[in-house]
Amino acid sequence: MGLITDEMKEIIGRPFERRRSFPIDANSIRWWAVAVYHPLPPPRRYWDPDTPGGLEAPSEFNPFAWKSLEEVNILPDGTEVERSIVLGPIESRLGITPPPFKTTMNGGLNVRYGEPMRVGDVIDSSTAIGSYTEREGKSGSMLFTAVETRWLNQKADLVKVSQMTVIRR
């Protein structure tokens, strides 16, 4: 098959994207909870300001929605550039020729949760390609890309480690 080029191999394991969230606010937690529980109301602990210990975000909450305080792509030579707002193959965003595919699908998620996210937390995210795997399918060659992301809060506590499998064919 030979879909995985030397250029692609070189970026495996290297963080290629870094983001820092704005401080998490109570409204964002409430809106997320209302949206995912709609049409029923969310549990009180996601919206009641008198919740003991303060509001805690649902595990799957995304603090990076609607822009981040910092968003950069890290090129293979270590240069940091403003994260591309043009969504395209990861490789293109890093100045590398991407593999030639027509469709991209989310093949699944594997998420491990650590410290919960709370109001006031600032989350730092780092993303890298974990691996490339080629497979032959019914409709031809497929490339499985494991994209790994790690979140830490401002106290350097581990908040989340996630792996998304991107299937391209």
């Binding site: 809106w31 995912v36 649902p58 799957e60 998620l109 594997n110 949760y113």
Partner: protein, 144 residues
């Protein structure tokens, strides 16, 4: 939820189904909080152009529903340690999605009981559109 379940750590956790209808009112609310505005999640014609019968739900929304299901099942007493999922087929607009699960393992850890769950989201035909697994700790969680 009965406290008997918590006093008997070998008992599987009862997992009440979580049911939602996949409609634009859900897709739009989720798009708004996750900044996920993609045409085939919002418009049937755009979805047909991509090869789907009609608009489809975001995978992230189905993932969120699985989290809601597990949280509600433990009534806030547990904390999700891990969730893994595979998207098998799209959730189409109008589908009734039911999240279900069963306990497949129970293990005592430092300060808490960890429940291993097989969970899934199925449509009204009973097709499992998303297959997942979860680990939930009840009580103080284990140290990483």
């Amino acid at each position: 939820m009965s406290d008997d379940v918590l006093t008997d750590p070998s008992a599987p956790f009862p997992l009440e189904p979580f049911v939602r209808v996949a409609e634009l009112e859900n897709f739009n609310r989720f798009a708004a909080v996750n900044d996920e505005f993609v045409d085939f999640h919002m418009d049937d014609a755009a979805a047909v152009h991509k090869g789907f019968p009609r608009a489809i739900a975001m995978g992230n929304l189905t993932f969120a529903w699985l989290h809601c299901f597990v949280r509600d099942a433990f009534e806030g007493r547990g904390r999700i340690l891990q969730m893994t999922c595979e998207f098998r087929s799209p959730v189409l607009r109008g589908d009734t999605v039911t999240c279900r699960g069963e306990t497949v393992g129970i293990e005592k850890s430092a300060g808490g009981t960890v429940y291993d769950l097989d969970v899934w989201a199925e449509n009204e035909s009973g097709d499992r559109v998303t297959k997942a697994s979860a680990k939930v700790v009840v009580g103080k969680g284990p140290e990483d």
